[in-house]
Amino acid sequence: MRHTIVNIFASAALALPALASCSLFQLDTYQEPDATLYGSIIDVSTGEPVPGDIVSGTTLKLIEHGYTDPTPTYLVVKNDGSYRNTRLYEGTYTIQPDKRNFLPVDAQQIYISGQTQLDFYVTPYIRFRNVSITKEANTVLATFNLEPTTLDAVAEIALFASDQASVGSTVNSVSKIKTVNSGVLPTRGFKIGIDVADNSSYFKENKEYYFRLGARSSYSGALYNYAPTVKINIGEFVDDTSRPGVFFDECESLDGWKSQGTLAVDTSDKTQGNACLSTTVPKNALLFFEKALSTPVDTQVSLEDGVLAFDLYVADLNAFGWGLGDAQIEITSGGKADVGELHWTFLADDLKLRPGWNNIRLSMAGARKTGGNIDLTAVNYFRLYHTRLNSDATLKIDNIRFYEDF
């Protein structure tokens, strides 16, 4: 309900003609809005407040009685699940949470006067359990379980970071969001992390930042549910090569490697160890690097969080035609292509390739599958090919490894 009185300024003779239809003298009887409504959104099961987003988060819709076509007023619920409005008119209202991160509740009538408290006891769509947020190496890592309160799939989980205490899905400078899109049992463990060194344009060493863990239900219109915000001093960045991982191949020798180009060990240019592999493939060929292992590698990663990483040197981007389906990067557990395979399209834009060395990181969750499921405990094949070369092309590769990125 709009009460336009709040914008009245000092009187002036110039304005008097305009008041013909609305006596100025009546305004003397007007009461300022002085009633306060306050309260919290409380988890009916735990008795704890249900935190949310202060920006685009939960709102309470208020409709004041006594009007034929009332305009609703919306109260914003703060990050900690509390709300307060001190400028309401005394009277009867219908109030109902509008945008929500909890199961719908019915509208209720309330008479507001003086200091009126109204708490909403609700069931959040998702509860967090066993939350731990710590920094390990360069990663702020959260581990946790989820307890959805409906059978709806969990749409996504997220870790948000900011120097603002109101950090969340709408207030953050860095975020990591992972799609889940499945039902979740309380026994299922989750991990999600933010690599602060990778985001050094924002994170500064030895500074404190707020981190907040969120999860969103696929229930239509559901907002994020949150674990409590934590403040972490991110300390010093550590050397990236200390990132734990398992090598597919360190690219120190030609052992088992094939190429349709001139394959060589290059000790003068490398990103790891003592050498990298280089090849120059003629325009009419396609295979750059291929290796089948006699002893498979246990990658020690999951399909959900696993990453295939390697360093790739591109001499000339113009040597490659960049059309969909022209080129792939593949790993398999079948000892050859197309059997238990994960593959990614080798596209300059997707991989953000630049001339020179590129750090390639390929998420296994985003890979395509061919020929059945890959066995990540026994990966034994790698291939990189390109079918549309504009000219002879040179690539170098080094440091092919697997690790988990949360």
Partner: protein
């Protein structure tokens, strides 16, 4: 000028200023009975705020509606999230429609609904949200005792104010002390006190999901459909057909408790019907409770659970109507006058060598839901309907619940639209599971519905093995122009079907279901059909029958055109079902 502008703004808006807050006026609530007027339809618009209160409103309104509509088409509900309720009543209120000339009176509030209901209800039955099965037991009781189903909150708010007696309060009645499951204790109490005493209908029964997962989120599934259950005084339940896995909603129950109660219900029907008539089980198993959900586990998939439900019901002469859960106002529609319908027959021709003959069955209208949803301003309005012959698979039993809609469909068919019974026959059942002594009853039941719908083809008989000789003999009596089957062998021991002609009379055919979900993308449908049809130099005519769900003929035309491009080696002709089976029989007999 700024000041002037501000004051002008004030003058324009001053009529909206509330000078002093008004206390809410105390008003006497009108609770007197609204007398029922003749030739009048009372309408009520349901709200849908996705809240438990909204769920409760819908349950109460629909249970009351069921009792009111025993007297005729008295009460009609408008759904909040669908335009179908308004479209259907507008359709039948047109000149010549069965509702022409009836006055519509809108009930403005839930209170007015109760005042109208006081004409017919004897009181209130309060269910216990903590034992969600009691909403089904309360619905059963409402039908038998002429009650309205209330939640505890509704009872507190309305019962005393409107002078409604409390017929029964289920709160705290069931704790699992008898069976190890409060849910099963509730249903077993209802079996003992209502079903086994012969107080419930043995013609219509109801497998409706309870409030466990729907009420907290204000999901209205299985709320507004309760009217027909109450009208028919049907027994309402929600149980798992599996005995090897505890249901998700009652994980601590002794293994197999749900199934044991389920069987008790089926046994009661067979005992009471004594082979005199069959029983329709309206509804579907709860996917949320009894089948696999991605990420939440579950030993059995959805299709397997559907098939298991039919498998266990069939020996008790119980067949399914899987789709009423999404339909409003069945108790209203069921009052429509019905006359036997005609679809006619095409002129029969002769097959030619070198041809590949195709038949497309447009499905899946075996339940009331898709029929109600898609047959007005939906698939049935496809501009290309009439341009390609198809067989629509529709459950003939729906004349019991939606006779007006069935007649609308039959009366608006084109010369290219043909109808067959789907699924299985007059009701979704596994014919091989019917006990031999009840096959004559099965024949009698189907003859009745096939004649009323002028159907003589059964394009999708579902079973777990190929039809037995006895079953084929039974089908010959009501489906002589052909039967097609899908055989899925979940229980082992069955064998697949070879297309043939039974007793030189009835074609028996395999219905190909491999492309059923591809209809919305004709290029996929064409590729899928192409995959099924092998290359050959044999000129003998070949026959393929495909089932495609929830698309109109336009998509089929598009797919067939793409198939012709994809397979220039084929001389394709799409046939109507009568010529298809007639051609096949001709070729087979040669």
């Amino acid at each position: 000028m700024f000041l002037l502008s501000a004051l002008i703004l004030l003058s324009v808006q001053c009529d909206k200023i509330k000078m002093t807050p008004d206390p809410e006026p105390e008003q006497d609530v009108e609770t007197s009975v609204i007398p029922l007027a003749e030739n009048t339809i009372y309408t009520y618009a349901l709200s849908n705020s996705l809240t438990p209160g909204c769920y409760d409103e819908c349950v109460a309104a629909s249970t009351l509606q069921g009792i009111l509509n025993r007297q005729g088409p008295v009460m009609y509900l408008y759904g909040a999230n669908t335009n179908k309720t308004s479209q259907w009543i507008e359709m039948f209120s047109k000149p010549g429609g069965w509702l022409e000339g009836r006055q519509q009176v809108k009930l403005e509030s839930f209170g007015e609904l109760l005042r109208l209901g006081k004409n017919v209800i004897k009181g209130v039955i309060i269910y216990d949200p903590d034992v969600p099965a009691t909403i089904n037991v309360a619905t059963t009781m409402a039908g038998v005792e002429d009650g309205i189903v209330f939640s505890p909150e509704q009872a507190e708010k309305y019962a005393a104010e409107y002078g409604l007696a409390i017929l029964h309060d289920f709160r705290s009645q069931f704790d699992g002390s008898l069976s190890g499951s409060a849910k099963n204790d509730a249903y077993r109490w209802a079996i003992d006190n209502y079903l086994d005493k012969g107080l419930c209908s043995t013609t219509q029964s109801f497998l409706y999901e309870d409030s466990r997962y729907n009420r907290p989120v204000g999901n209205l599934e299985y709320t507004y459909c309760r009217d027909f259950a109450v009208k028919e005084r049907g027994f309402v339940f929600d149980l798992s057909p599996w005995e090897d896995e505890a249901p998700r909603d009652d994980a601590s129950q002794p293994l197999g408790t749900d199934k044991a109660t389920y069987i008790r219900i089926l046994e009661s029907y067979l005992r009471q019907t004594a082979g005199q008539h069959m029983t329709c089980l309206n509804g579907f198993f709860s996917k949320k409770k009894y089948s696999e959900i991605d990420g939440l586990g579950g030993a059995h998939g959805q299709v397997a659970t559907e098939w298991e439900s039919v498998w266990i019901a069939s020996p008790y002469n119980v067949y399914m109507d899987t789709g009423p859960g999404e339909v409003y106002n069945m108790s209203f529609h069921s009052n429509a006058p019905f006359k036997p319908m005609k679809q006619g027959r095409p002129q029969l021709g002769q097959p030619q060598d070198g041809k590949t003959y195709l038949l497309f069955q447009l499905a899946d209208y075996d339940g009331a839901g898709p029929l109600w949803e898609y047959m007005l301003n939906g698939i049935w309005n496809d501009d290309n309907r009439g341009s390609i012959p198809v067989i629509w698979g529709i459950n003939p039993n729906l004349i019991d619940k939606l006779p007006d809609i069935m007649q609308y469909i039959w009366s608006t068919k084109t010369d290219a639209d043909w109808f067959g019974a789907d699924a299985s026959c007059a009701g979704y059942i596994n014919p091989n599971r019917i006990q031999e002594q009840y096959l004559p009853l099965f024949v009698e039941h189907n003859k009745k519905y096939y004649v009323m719908c002028d159907i003589s083809i059964s394009p999708m008989v579902l079973d777990q093995s190929q039809p037995s000789e006895a079953v084929k003999n039974a089908f010959m009596e009501f489906s002589p122009d052909g039967m097609a089957t899908i055989v899925m062998n979940y229980h082992g021991g069955g064998t697949g079907l070879v297309n043939h002609v039974w007793n030189n009379t009835m074609p028996v055919f395999n219905l190909n279901n491999s492309v059923c979900g591809m209809g919305s993308q004709p290029e996929n449908l064409a590729a899928g059909v192409s995959k099924v049809i092998s290359k050959t130099s044999d000129p003998t005519p070949r026959y393929y029958m495909f089932r495609v769900i929830w698309v109109g003929p336009g998509k089929i035309i598009n797919a067939v055109n793409q198939l012709r491009t994809l397979r220039p080696d084929l001389d394709i002709e799409v046939l109507d079902p009568y010529n298809f089976f007639h051609y096949f029989k001709t070729t087979y007999n040669q």
